[in-house]
């Protein structure tokens, strides 16, 4: 919030220790990935590969938990309150897309939204926490916590360096994020599950397997096909949502004010953007009414 808290200032933990935890978390994720990629060929055909599965689970989960422990205490209340909202948005908007049969999963809208509004640290924490909370209903998403944290962090960095100021740059940032996130998540799918969760993605993996690829290579290629498109769409949706927010709602976030995340901070530019958004909204409304 813009107004300072009226309660006494709390004793914060030393920043150095938090920084250390953050670095340890990132290192755990990176080391696990490197180990899995280097050790894969012998293991996956040699048996059920549960040693790699355990290493993937332990390393990625430990990294995600370290990141949460490091970041969560530093978030202001206005961001903390948004995290549950983002998690629910991930689920509700994801379900909406599922029910309208668009061929993407779009399950990171809330995470990316938080990252754009409140920064990379908040985005990473939201991604990791989201996987942990969602695993109460679907335990299979738990090992993807590290990938989700990475998506949140990269989205926040993109926002910080001004990629959301130009509308056409948002999908590009999403595309790049999708490539990185897909490559990092592929070993989880390969070693922990031995495949992918969806029948459609499974078909793509099968095609690469039929050409004689190893399982990890096939799943990585599948991720490189699906994930960048998916994240480009998610980033575009988030850009639309953020620009549709009233100025008062978005300017309450210090991250947006400090790094000038969005275009049109000047008053005139803002009203113009608002008017443009209104116009498109009217246009779509008329469009869909006519279609019906």
């Amino acid at each position: 919030m813009s107004s300072p808290s009226l309660t006494l200032p709390s004793q914060e933990r030393p920043a150095a220790r938090r920084r250390l935890l953050e670095i340890l978390g990132a290192l755990a994720i990176a080391a696990t990935y490197v180990y899995l990629v280097l050790n894969q060929p012998a293991d996956i055909t040699g048996g059920p590969g549960s040693a790699s599965a355990l290493i993937a689970l332990t390393g990625f989960l430990a990294g995600a938990v370290l990141l949460i422990v490091a970041v969560l205490p530093t978030l202001p209340a206005s961001t903390l309150v948004l995290i549950p909202v983002a998690l629910v948005l991930n689920i509700v908007l994801g379900q909406f897309v599922g029910s309208t049969l668009v061929p993407f999963y779009l399950d990171a809208i809330g995470t990316v939204l938080i990252a754009v509004l409140a920064g990379p640290a908040a985005g990473a924490a939201t991604g990791a926490l989201g996987s942990i909370v969602w695993s109460f209903f679907n335990p299979t998403v738990l090992p993807f916590a590290a990938g989700a944290a990475l998506i949140g962090c990269l989205a926040g960095l993109a926002a910080r360096y001004g990629l959301f100021r130009r509308f056409y740059l948002a999908p590009v940032a999403g595309f790049v994020t999708g490539i990185i996130a897909g490559v990092v998540s592929a070993p989880v799918a390969a070693f922990v599950y031995g495949g992918t969760s969806g029948v459609a993605t499974g078909a793509i993996v099968s095609a690469f397997r039929a050409m004689g690829d190893t399982l990890l290579a096939a799943i990585t290629k599948q991720a490189l096909i699906s994930d960048p498109m998916d994240k480009a769409i998610v980033f575009t949706i988030v850009a639309i949502l953020v620009y549709a927010l009233p100025r008062r709602a978005r300017q309450q976030f210090p991250f947006i004010r400090r790094y000038r995340v969005l275009a049109g901070n000047g008053k005139a530019a803002d009203t113009q953007a608002g008017a443009a958004v209104e116009d498109t909204a009217q246009g779509t409304a008329h469009g869909s009414a006519r279609n019906g």
Partner: protein, 260 residues
């Protein structure tokens, strides 16, 4: 929606005596040991035990649909993937063009499906039988950040509320003439007409809630007092320690000798 009911429902009285951390340790240890063992006999045993427990605990009507929703697409995908295309397979059972059904592929897929089913059932059995307020209280008593507990509890309670609000927004837009047709453009437009008001109202709400929570000292550190008593006993503490040690031992054994 099966998901929304997990956080709210009460428990059978008998289960109240079990500390949520004990059941969490049991579920996590079961998952770790099953993955580490990688034997289909153990996986089958765990599946049977979980099914039995969920029927006995009265949660089977919620656990089973949730588990099926997760496992059926996974199983289909794995069967197609490894059943038809497993270049490493030697024993060919049938062949059409590039697709070969191999014994090794089917074996690999079957083993993975059983292992996954055991892990998913064990964890779902925990999450659908635990009382979320108890879990939150137990976690904060252990010194776990009140913030994590807040996020967990808040998400589980917001989920049905926000799903309801999304439904009302759709109804409102439909009453204004919104028709979702097969056309992709109209679908995108419909998505926008529903998502923008939803996100807007949620962020407004969150701002108000943040002010209220801040005024009540959410950001402060220091010890918190919980009015909720979570049952615990020496036996359960020992059981938790044993479970965690067993899981660790299984993981270490498996990693140290991957060939075993």
């Amino acid at each position: 929606m099966t998901a929304s009911s997990a956080g709210r429902t009460g428990q059978p009285a008998r289960r109240e005596r079990l500390n949520p951390l004990t059941s969490l340790a049991a579920a996590a240890a079961t998952a770790a040991i099953t993955t580490a063992a990688g034997s289909w006999q153990l996986s089958l045993t765990v599946i049977a035990a979980c099914l039995g427990l969920s029927v006995a605990g009265g949660t089977s009507r919620r656990v089973l649909p949730a588990a099926a929703a997760v496992l059926v697409p996974f199983a289909l995908s794995l069967l197609v993937l490894h059943g038809l295309f497993f270049p490493e397979g030697r024993t060919v059972l049938a062949e059409w063009g590039p697709a070969r059904i191999t014994a090794e592929g089917l074996h690999f897929a079957g083993q993975r499906i059983l292992q996954l089913a055991a892990v998913v059932l064990a964890l779902l059995l925990f999450s659908f039988s635990v009382s979320v307020p108890d879990l939150v209280a137990a976690l904060s008593a252990r010194g776990v950040q009140g913030r994590f507990a807040f996020v967990l509890a808040s998400t589980l309670t917001l989920l049905p509320a926000i799903a309801g609000r999304a439904r009302r927004i759709r109804q409102a837009q439909e009453s204004r003439g919104l028709v979702i047709s097969r056309n992709l453009v109209s679908r995108v437009g419909a998505f926008r007409l529903q998502a923008v008001p939803l996100v807007l109202s949620l962020i407004e709400d969150a701002g108000t809630r943040a002010a209220a929570l801040e005024a009540r000292g959410l950001g402060n550190s220091g010890p918190r007092t919980s009015y909720r008593e979570v049952p615990d006993s020496g036996q359960q503490r020992t059981a938790r320690a044993v479970l965690v040690l067993a899981a660790l031992a299984a993981v270490v054994l498996r990693v140290v000798q991957p060939g075993a």
